[in-house]
């Protein structure tokens, strides 16, 4: 993963966030992905989202597996610890990191090969545990680094660059997430930063696992005619089902009932997700209705995007485990070791 250092010069007119940091402070090294890669747009959205939320950079931990997408944590939030692990293994590593230190904002970057093939089981179980983290699947339908094999998210009939159609049913992370209890599910498009940034900001505040599947065309191996993950196809078939704003906890705002009977969802940290626009009869807090809607529209070949489902009522890994409120890494040793006297007493049980 070569990375090129960017110049650090900052223009004085750059806007500063609450922490006095500019967006440059949330950037990483220069991307080495192909020019036009969707992943770079996602990187830009992540950079912006963290800047807008004004998370202290070192309070972010960014993790990834292996693949083009997994290179990208090097390209945002330089001040955060990063961990580029093994193929598909990011979810358990992030789970362990979160288990040890619940005070950081965890963002995992993965791809469709990483999450839907080799690491599918791990992703599912991280969802089940409701590990508090932002989990981005940069979904392009192909293996880029090994040059263009289909991934498990490739749609039936979608054509490879050579022209062979995929015949196997895709694994759809959104439907999968709905079926196994994911508590925050979004789909977006790398070319739609306006939609993606608020989703990412809401994800930062989410109580548990925030699954964000972002269609991110691979300009080199999957952007041709006949592909269902190309820029053209996605733009033509993008159905923005929901429109959501994220209002951070610090900005006091009275709940407003959105159009079309849409709802406001208060996040665990007090922030609010305002669903400004949702289709009639759609309720982003009703799993079954969301599934029905997706079945109907995806069946027509539409790419349904937006913050699709949200449930703030499920306890996360730590709440389920009744873990100490402070990071386990901060619990002093004298609280962890029962000491010699306790050992002496205990051993009466072993007589």
């Amino acid at each position: 993963m070569p990375s090129i250092v960017k110049p650090v010069a900052t223009h004085p007119s750059l806007q500063r966030n609450e922490l006095g940091l500019t967006i440059r402070d949330y950037e990483g090294s220069m991307s080495t992905l192909c020019a036009g890669c969707g992943h770079d747009s996602i990187t830009a959205a992540i950079t912006r989202a963290f800047w807008e939320v004004a998370t202290p950079p070192h309070m972010v931990a960014k993790l990834s597996g292996i693949g083009c997408s997994s290179k990208t944590p090097a390209y945002f939030v330089n001040g955060a610890h990063g961990l580029n692990s093994a193929h598909g293994r990011m979810p358990p590593i992030a789970t362990g990191a979160n288990a040890a230190n619940r005070e950081l904002i965890y963002i995992g970057i993965s791809g469709d090969g990483d999450s839907l093939s080799i690491g599918l089981g791990h992703m599912c179980h991280a969802i089940r545990r409701n590990v508090r983290m932002i989990y981005v699947i940069e979904n392009n339908g192909v293996y880029g680094l090994t040059k263009g094999q289909f991934s498990a998210s490739a749609d039936v009939g979608s054509k490879s660059k050579r022209g062979d159609p995929n015949r196997m049913a895709p694994i759809d992370s959104v439907m999968l997430g709905l079926s196994i209890g994911a508590t925050f599910i979004a789909r977006s498009f790398s070319g739609d930063k306006e939609q993606l940034v608020p989703i990412l900001k809401a994800a930062v505040s989410h109580r548990g696992f925030a699954l964000i599947d972002v269609i991110s065309p691979c300009v080199t191996f999957n952007d041709h005619e006949g592909s269902t993950k190309s820029y053209l196809y996605t733009r033509q078939h993008d159905l923005k089902a929901t429109e959501a704003d994220f209002v951070p906890p610090s900005s006091e705002i009275l709940a407003q009932i959105g159009q079309n009977g849409a709802v406001n969802v208060t996040m665990h940290d007090g922030g609010v997700v305002r669903f400004k626009g949702v289709p009639p009869n759609y309720d982003p807090t009703d799993r079954r209705k969301v599934m029905d809607y997706l079945e109907e529209h995806q069946g027509k070949g539409e790419v349904v995007t937006g913050l699709l489902y949200l449930d703030e009522n499920v306890p996360d890994l730590h709440e389920m485990s009744n873990t100490s409120d402070i990071a386990l890494t901060k619990v002093p040793y004298h609280k962890l070791c029962p000491g010699a006297a306790a050992l002496h007493r205990l051993q009466e049980d072993f007589r």
């Binding site: 993963m1 070569p2 990375s3 950079p57 070192h58 931990a61 993790l63 944590p73 090097a74 330089n78 001040g79 955060a80 610890h81 990063g82 961990l83 580029n84 692990s85 093994a86 293994r89 979810p91 358990p92 590593i93 789970t95 362990g96 990191a97 979160n98 288990a99 040890a100 230190n101 005070e103 950081l104 089981g121 791990h122 179980h125 545990r129 890994l317 730590h318 485990s321 009744n322 873990t323 100490s324 409120d325 990071a327 386990l328 890494t329 619990v331 040793y333 609280k335 962890l336 070791c337 029962p338 000491g339 010699a340 306790a342 050992l343 002496h344 205990l346 051993q347 072993f350 007589r351």
Partner: protein, 617 residues
């Protein structure tokens, strides 16, 4: 009649899932409380109910408690295995069976005393509930053994009382069943048997504990806060025990919150991933597993090695390859763990020999993992992990403080002009690391891909090699920090014996017995890898070193050949790997055969019963 006191072996043949374990444990514990050196080996099947299971108890006043193969008394409670069990009784020994049904005359042996007690009949006559009738048969034979071996009845009563405190009905049933077996035996046989028990005072400073419990306790004391695991025999009880101890000691008294987290992972790939993630964040984290789990963990073990992240792996070894025999013991994971993962990798291994060392080595494992920023394996096995051992009371020094290794504090980071992850090595070739969430200046990108000493990505040969060479030197530096070998020399020794782990008691006993016959050898038990220089010196001192271990491929010997300069001609193997714990007889036979000395039969327990034959009814 020559009485043999506190020196004999029993074998109890049962059907698993019928409740025999509690009766067998009761006997073992009673003998322990009588102050007599004792060991119990549970030879159980990978099954929940219906298959043969055995439990062996060896009593030895001199403290030799390795498994004995000479059974003075067989308690044959499983008709499926009668033929085999009867064959195993030593000449002149005894066999206790359930005479509710006649024994096939074909199975009788002239040189064995048969003692029949109608256990099923007695229990059917005295208990109503069908399940109880089966369960109580076990306590009834325990009652017979109490009479036959002179187990202290007061101690047995006390144990039952402790066990069934507050469960009046159970307590009453157990006491009644015990009495049934006891009275019948008293009325029908001339007891005690020529070999029996007498109180001693060898156990006042000892405890009875299994290695999995001890290692879990060690992890609590070491300050481990994150545990991730996938259930696997024979390590499961380690995590169960960790949970029990954490519930007891790690609930914050003020908040009621847990100062620990245990995650049951979806598989071992995830379990080690969680450990690595937690350790990267700065927690003491561990997993417990067995060989098949290590196979799955290989990928991320290489990541932790190369990215220099601590991890503690408790490997409770079982019989491989593949599924192998999950409930049988072996030392078959040595090479797999020493070099786990693809590419050039080497790991630190610790070899405890009993539960006391499991406890002692747990904090050592965490200290080494953090000091050397690398995975450390605590190599236990099923025999150590799941059998109850009599060991000295565990000790803890309240002055202990965890060695967190080189982790930069906020103040240290602030003083640094720039942080570069893999530079600034100390005498152990360890470079300082930083934890997430401390300071933006300390951030770095942890990667399993080729990297320079600054932590940046590289594909340039020199830059890659520079880091790999330091990792090798770092591994070598650990040799001085792993527990030193235990060495015992005898004057006039003509050979050395090298062993590890749970082989310890059998090998020591064998060396004593061999010395009595004029075949004198020195003893060394290795306790860590990479090998301390004392290991190589010991090997060099002797023309012949027998390497005693429990695997087919002589894995310890291979490691010694690979990692010391000792000529391999000096190393001869004695290998026992069928899945049961080692006995001194295995060692004696192996050594004598290798030395070309004629091997006369050796009886591990001294003397033979020549007493009167207690008559069957």
């Amino acid at each position: 009649m020559r009485n043999r006191v506190n020196d004999f072996a029993l074998k109890l043949a049962n059907v698993n899932g019928t409740g025999s374990a509690s009766a067998n444990g009761l006997l073992m514990q009673a003998i322990f409380r009588m102050g007599i050196p004792v060991s119990g080996k549970n030879l159980f099947p990978s099954n929940i109910q219906g298959l043969p299971t055995w439990y062996e108890i060896r009593v030895n006043k001199n403290g030799y408690t390795a498994r004995s193969l000479d059974y003075d008394l067989m308690i044959a409670m499983n008709s499926q295995t009668y033929a085999r069990d009867i064959k195993e009784v030593r000449e002149g020994g005894y066999l206790l069976y359930d005479s509710s049904w006649p024994l096939d005359p074909e199975l009788l042996r002239q040189d064995v005393h048969f003692m029949g007690v109608p256990f099923a009949q007695l229990c059917n006559d005295n208990f109503r509930d069908p399940r109880e009738r089966i369960l109580m048969k076990n306590i009834a034979y325990a009652g017979t053994l109490v009479a036959a071996l002179q187990v202290d009845m007061e101690i047995v009563a006390e144990l039952l009382e402790e066990k069934y405190a507050g469960k009046k009905k159970l307590s009453e049933s157990n006491t009644r069943a015990l009495r049934l077996g006891y009275d019948y035996a008293r009325d029908h046989f001339d007891l005690p048997l020529p070999f029996h028990l007498e109180k001693m005072d060898a156990n006042s400073d000892k405890i009875l504990i299994d290695g999995n419990t001890a290692v879990a306790l060690g992890c609590v004391y070491a300050g481990a806060t994150v545990a991730a695991w996938y259930p696997i025999t024979p390590s499961t009880s380690a995590m169960d025990a960790f949970k029990v101890f954490c519930e007891k000691y790690r609930k914050d008294p003020e908040t009621g919150k847990n100062n620990f987290i245990i995650i049951q992972a979806e598989d071992e790939l995830a379990a080690i991933g969680m450990v690595i993630g937690a350790a990267w964040s700065g927690a003491r984290a561990f997993t417990s597993t067995a060989g098949p789990g290590i196979s799955l963990m290989n990928e991320l073990l290489g990541f932790a090695y190369y990215a220099e992240i601590p991890a503690v792996i408790i490997d409770v070894e079982r019989v491989g390859p593949s599924t192998g025999m999950p409930t049988r013991t072996q030392q078959g994971d040595l090479l797999e763990c020493a070099y786990a993962s693809h590419g050039d990798t080497k790991h630190i291994l610790l070899f405890p020999s009993n539960p006391a060392e499991c406890f002692e080595f747990a904090p050592v494992a965490f200290d080494l993992a953090e000091r050397f920023q690398t995975p450390v394996f605590l190599m236990s096995d099923l025999d150590i992990g799941m059998n109850d051992w009599v060991v000295p009371r565990l000790k803890w020094n309240d002055a202990y403080q965890p060695d967190r290794g080189r982790v930069l504090s906020l103040e240290e980071i602030e003083k640094l002009p720039k942080f570069q992850r893999y530079t600034g090595e100390d005498e152990n070739q360890v470079t300082p690391r930083t934890l997430p969430g401390v300071h933006p200046k300390a951030s770095y990108f942890t990667r399993g891909s080729g990297h320079t000493k600054f932590g940046g990505y590289t594909e340039i040969p020199d830059e890659y090699q520079e880091v790999m060479d330091r990792l090798l030197k770092k591994h070598q530096a650990a040799a001085k920090h792993v527990p030193a070998p235990i060495i015992q020399r005898r004057p006039d020794a003509i050979f050395g014996i090298v062993t590890l782990g749970g082989c310890d008691p059998a090998v020591r006993e064998a060396l004593d017995l061999l010395a009595e016959r004029g075949v004198v050898g020195d003893f060394m038990r290795v306790r860590g890898f990479p090998f301390d220089s004392a290991v190589e010196s010991f090997l060099a001192e002797h023309d012949i070193n027998f390497v005693i271990e429990q695997n087919r491929d002589a894995q310890l010997r291979s490691l010694l050949i690979l990692e010391t300069n000792v000529s391999k001609d000096k190393l001869r193997s004695v290998l026992v790997y069928g899945g049961f714990p080692l006995s001194a007889r295995h060692v004696i036979d192996g050594v004598l055969e290798e030395l070309g000395l004629q091997n006369k039969p050796v009886f591990v327990a001294a003397g033979r019963p020549k007493g009167e034959v207690p008559m069957e009814e």
